[in-house]
């Protein structure tokens, strides 16, 4: 049993963690609204009046979910994530985060090209020159559609400037 528990993240735990998370968000919303005034001024209800009650409802809803998962739980014993699934989700998610950080530093075009090239090489098992060609093609297409077709600029970094593209 101990072996199994190591591998699983149970759904019940996740359910409670999420309920606590939303309850926390509710508290933050109540606090934020309280700071901007939840009362009544000569202009009518103050800015925090409406969101304050929204926050209260979030806390109430979260508490109900929390209590239900503690005492009347229908999905008892269900698994939220197995190690195997977690690995494939993380295998997708971590490169995604890396892509975002690279894009923030070097611009979205460079980020996209590197991301697609990397994902194809490491996850898809393609040879480097196929991956690089595909990455260039997709990035080029992005440039045509966004920059030229719809004339909306994407985030650019130092490399485009150095190449003198914009």
């Amino acid at each position: 049993m101990a072996e199994l528990e190591k591998q699983f993240l149970s759904r019940k735990t996740m359910e409670m963690v999420t309920a606590l998370l939303t309850a926390g968000a509710g508290l933050a919303i109540c606090y934020g609204s309280w700071r901007s005034g939840i009362g009544w001024s000569e202009m009518g209800p103050e800015a925090g009046y409406f969101p304050f009650y929204v926050g209260v409802l979030i806390i109430l809803g979260s508490l109900v979910t929390l209590l239900r998962s503690l005492f009347f739980y229908r999905h008892e014993g269900e698994v939220f994530l197995t190690m195997e699934k977690a690995r494939s989700v993380l295998g997708f998610f971590l490169p995604l985060v890396a892509f975002m950080v690279i894009s923030l530093l070097l611009g979205l075009y460079v980020g996209t090209a590197l991301y697609i090239c990397g994902a194809m090489m490491w996850q898809g098992g393609y040879r480097w020159w196929i991956a690089a060609l595909a990455a260039l093609a997709v990035t080029g297409l992005f440039y045509l559609v966004f920059e030229i077709g719809f004339q909306v600029p994407l985030l650019k970094g130092p490399i485009e400037g150095w190449l003198g593209i914009y």
């Binding site: 409406f50 979030i58 979910t65 892509f99 975002m100 697609i116 966004f146």
Partner: protein, 507 residues
């Protein structure tokens, strides 16, 4: 000039080469987002929206609404050929569509699906043509308390009618309202819920939320479920299409019933997903011979498809006439209208009849174009799904982040997309509904304004929501919807509520 005259004017606006071209592009892009995993109709429309800011509003709405039709069709295609619903609303189509295609009748299954979908959608548009003017005229007598009551009704029925636990629906909905209030308060001008973060002063865009929740969230879920696309080779032969067309009249009764279900569920915020499940459930319940259901019964394709599309179309009626969208995609489109400076609601029919009726006319044409295009291009899209996920996934991610950046040229929005993506993944796996969050984000400001203005009118007394028969009636209906699960339980009707809930896949 009656509705008919306006409609003819609308056709005159729409029937230009430029607009027909836009329609085709919209439908093609729509099928694409409907087919690809992680890109659904709400997300696709959100991604396209920033690109339309420079277009004429009428052209832009034609593009976006046609994308919506296309996405609905694309979702059915993958349901039938790959057993993967491209859209949550086409889950019910997999039950019989995939088995029929597997039996070597892929063309028959696709034709049945597209034709019944087209009929359902057209029925929805006819309903909009007939009713929208009337509903809008009725809504002209609304003032702030009535509008708040309508919002209350919409959100109350979400909580009452949804499959998900009411407390979870409440939480996601209220989170949506809270996200909508972040930033500058429009009435007092003070900052709210920014917690000292300068990037939050401009507020949180609903587009960014949709891209994260629907886009990244769904992609993460897709990777978890593993990706093996065992597709069925589909070559659409014209002769098979014609043969299938000849058998369509046999399902007249099923189509009629499903249309009515779809229209009802589309106008009320239950939405296309619930409509298709309910329609499938009723088709099976009323069938004399149930043995073929799940093994490729044509009625099991026709019923959910008709209901899905008539609900999808009908969802635009409350959006146009009342300013209350009936589905997540309609909510995104409504947000778009507001960005273009058009306020959906009864006044739109008076101020911009050309726009409203142009849109309605485009819905007729768009759906016809969609049926023809989707039949012609099925093999093309089926081959796109065969591209490995290690290529498609990153491309979709890159498109989503580019789209998020384009909303306001802000890098902070990219972080928000990431956050919303994790939230969406968490919510989806734990059965929190996401549509109410999107609706609340789009409607948040309007609902709050209506509420605060009502409070001003009554000096802070909640009795204003019960002060005349009209507002009391709407509020009473809202309360009824809200506590509907309790009533149904008490009356022992629980079985009727959603007998197919067990089939609900995680999409």
């Amino acid at each position: 000039m009656g509705n008919f005259g306006y409609l003819m004017d609308g056709f005159a606006t729409v029937l230009t080469a430029h607009h027909l071209m836009i329609m085709m592009i919209g439908v093609m892009l729509g099928i694409l987002v409907g087919v690809l995993p992680g890109l659904g109709a709400p997300n696709g429309v959100s991604l396209l929206l920033p690109l339309t800011f420079t277009m004429e509003p009428i052209s832009a709405i034609i593009l976006l609404s046609c994308m919506y039709w296309g996405a609905l069709f694309g979702g059915s295609t993958t349901s039938i050929l790959f057993n993967i619903p491209g859209e949550p609303s086409s889950v019910a189509t997999t039950f019989d569509g995939y088995p029929m295609a597997k039996n070597g009748q892929a063309t028959r299954a696709l034709t049945l699906a597209f034709m019944s979908a087209g009929i359902g959608a057209l029925a929805g548009v006819v309903m909009i043509t007939l009713l929208s003017g009337w509903v809008a005229r009725f809504a002209l007598q609304f003032s702030s308390p009535e509008f708040f009551a309508v919002y209350f009704l919409a959100f109350g029925s979400f909580i009452g009618m949804s499959d998900n636990a009411p407390a979870k629906t409440l939480v996601t909905m209220m989170l949506g309202f809270a996200f909508a209030t972040v930033g500058m308060d429009t009435i007092s001008g003070s900052l709210r819920l920014t917690f000292g973060i300068p990037d939050l002063i401009k507020g949180i865009s609903f587009l960014v939320a949709v891209m994260g929740l629907f886009g990244i969230g769904e992609l993460l879920l897709t990777t978890e479920e593993g990706l093996r696309f065992d597709g069925i080779k589909a070559r659409v032969r014209p002769i098979d299409v014609l043969k299938t067309l000849k058998e369509m009249p046999r399902y007249g009764w099923a189509i009629l019933r499903s249309t009515l279900i779809g229209i009802w569920m589309g106008i009320t915020p239950a939405g296309p997903t619930a409509a298709s499940f309910m329609s499938y459930g009723l088709a099976r319940r009323f069938a004399k011979d149930k043995s073929k259901f799940g093994k490729g019964d044509p009625r099991g394709i026709v019923s959910p498809e008709t209901a899905d599309h008539s609900a999808g179309t009908s969802a635009l009626l409350p959006m146009l006439a009342l300013g209350v969208p009936g589905s997540a995609t309609a909510a995104v489109m409504m947000g778009g209208l507001m960005i273009w400076g058009l306020t959906p609601g009864p006044m739109l029919f008076i101020d911009r009849p050309d726009f409203v009726w142009g849109l309605i006319a485009s819905m007729y044409l768009g759906n016809v174009v969609a049926v023809l295009l989707v039949l012609a291009t099925v093999p093309l899209y089926a081959s796109i799904l065969r591209v490995p996920f290690s290529i498609v996934g990153p491309v979709i991610v890159a498109i989503i982040f580019s789209g998020a950046y384009q909303v306001a040229n802000s890098t902070f929005d990219m972080w928000l997309v990431l956050g919303f993506g994790i939230l969406g993944y968490l919510f989806k796996t734990l059965d929190y509904p996401i549509a109410p969050l999107v609706l609340a984000m789009v409607l948040g400001d309007k609902a709050e304004d209506a509420f605060r203005q009502s409070m001003l009118m009554s000096n802070g007394s909640l009795t204003i929501f019960w002060s005349n028969p009209l507002v009391s009636g709407i509020m009473a209906l809202g309360v009824l919807m809200l506590i509907w699960p309790l009533i149904a339980k008490a009356a022992g009707l629980r079985g009727l509520r959603r007998h197919t809930a067990g089939h609900q896949a995680k999409v």
